[in-house]
Symmetry: D2
């Protein structure tokens, strides 16, 4: 994501000075979206896929929500703060719920342990971004 | 979207009995996502595209958020209610903000008038779905 | 999708006169994306979810590809024809593969029968759009 | 994306041994999607946005296509090779077309120079992945 950092640095009119938080969040959300997508696929391939329904579902929802947050935050030019804050809340909630579900399987399946970690990192990045918007 | 209605009717374990609200919302969100995408493209092709920056940006964000809501609600099986409610709030906020922006140009550009209409319809469908989840 | 038709009619500079094919495709792709998403969720909730792995996976891929085609075609203003044609080929291939897989379960599960139908309709809409671009 | 690498390493049944190419492609596609999204936003904020219409449009299409490729490749479990190969062709075509357009503005706008670079890197990752699938 080094090129995204360079791109943010050359944007003509960023709406806020939360560039560091934005870069960290797009990075975390892109990783979390990919990891949740891959974890759902891994769960589906496990012998006992039927017992992982809740995990697969959380993974799919979390991947979708992280992807949309990555897109919104990758547009630094203008923002509707009220929409953005609520969207970040929804993303943090999805990440926390997915982390909690994955954590329950983390002892048996390493992919769920890694996924829980990615979800917690993204939730934190959402919260920091939300703080930066409030302060702006 | 007639096939979606049939698909919902044959789902083995819907998590709630909010099937009507869910169908109405996926339909409204799919339309709003397509209409906002097309309105952004139309604004960009207008002679005076530079004066429509805010509108284009709202259209893009609203399209992205509506698309993710369409996906989440198209999965009736399991849901994390807290995430879902916040996501619906974010979608309603995005739709209201986009409708307000588009309405300002509705006199001059018919595509903005149509888009404002689609956004309001989707915001209402989000709010009805949110009411149905609360009641569940 | 009536509002999308109205929006297309007011677009200032459509790149081609394939508006009817474009409208039909965005409609079919939006439906197919929603139906495939719902079919994956329904399969996952079936007693014997483990035997439906291939179907779930095809559904997820097909939903993703249909969604991106819906977005691209909802932008009538400018297009890179070579990219668009290849993307339509990929969408038709995904829809045909998903229809074939779903058809195998159509006798036992009505949602797979409906999904196969939506996939075939979208594949045909892609092929008609591709013909219209070639002719342009 | 370090966590994605770890997740791929713990997947129970990857369909191929193209894990390195897959990891490289998800990383490149995620970056390209974010960079193209940000470049479209930056172009829109430039004084002379109207002259950048083609660039904005290519950026939006390329971001959408890269995002879908990132999702498909993040699912290592099962794949329809014909669909995947065509989808990778479409992504490479979108990236090459966007790189070419952005390169024309690279002297004046650093964000277009960075974006062209990200697009070329993603096109190459698509081509390498396509080679690995053919070989599989």
């Amino acid at each position: 994501m080094d090129r995204l950092r360079r791109l943010f640095a050359t944007h003509p009119h960023p709406a806020s000075d939360a560039g560091d938080e934005a870069f960290a969040l797009v990075t975390a959300a892109s990783e979390c979206a990919a990891v949740c997508t891959a974890c759902a696929d891994a769960c589906l391939q496990e012998e006992d896929a039927s017992s992982l329904r809740a995990c697969i579902r959380q993974n799919l929802d979390c991947a979708d929500i992280c992807a949309v947050v990555g897109r919104l935050i990758a547009r630094p030019g203008r923002q509707d703060p009220a929409t953005l804050r609520t969207q970040l809340d929804a993303c943090a909630a999805a990440c926390r719920a997915c982390a909690e579900e994955c954590q329950q399987h983390a002892g048996k399946m390493e992919h769920c342990a890694v996924c829980a970690e990615a979800c917690r990192a993204c939730a934190e990045a959402c919260e920091r971004m939300n703080g930066a918007i409030v302060a702006a």
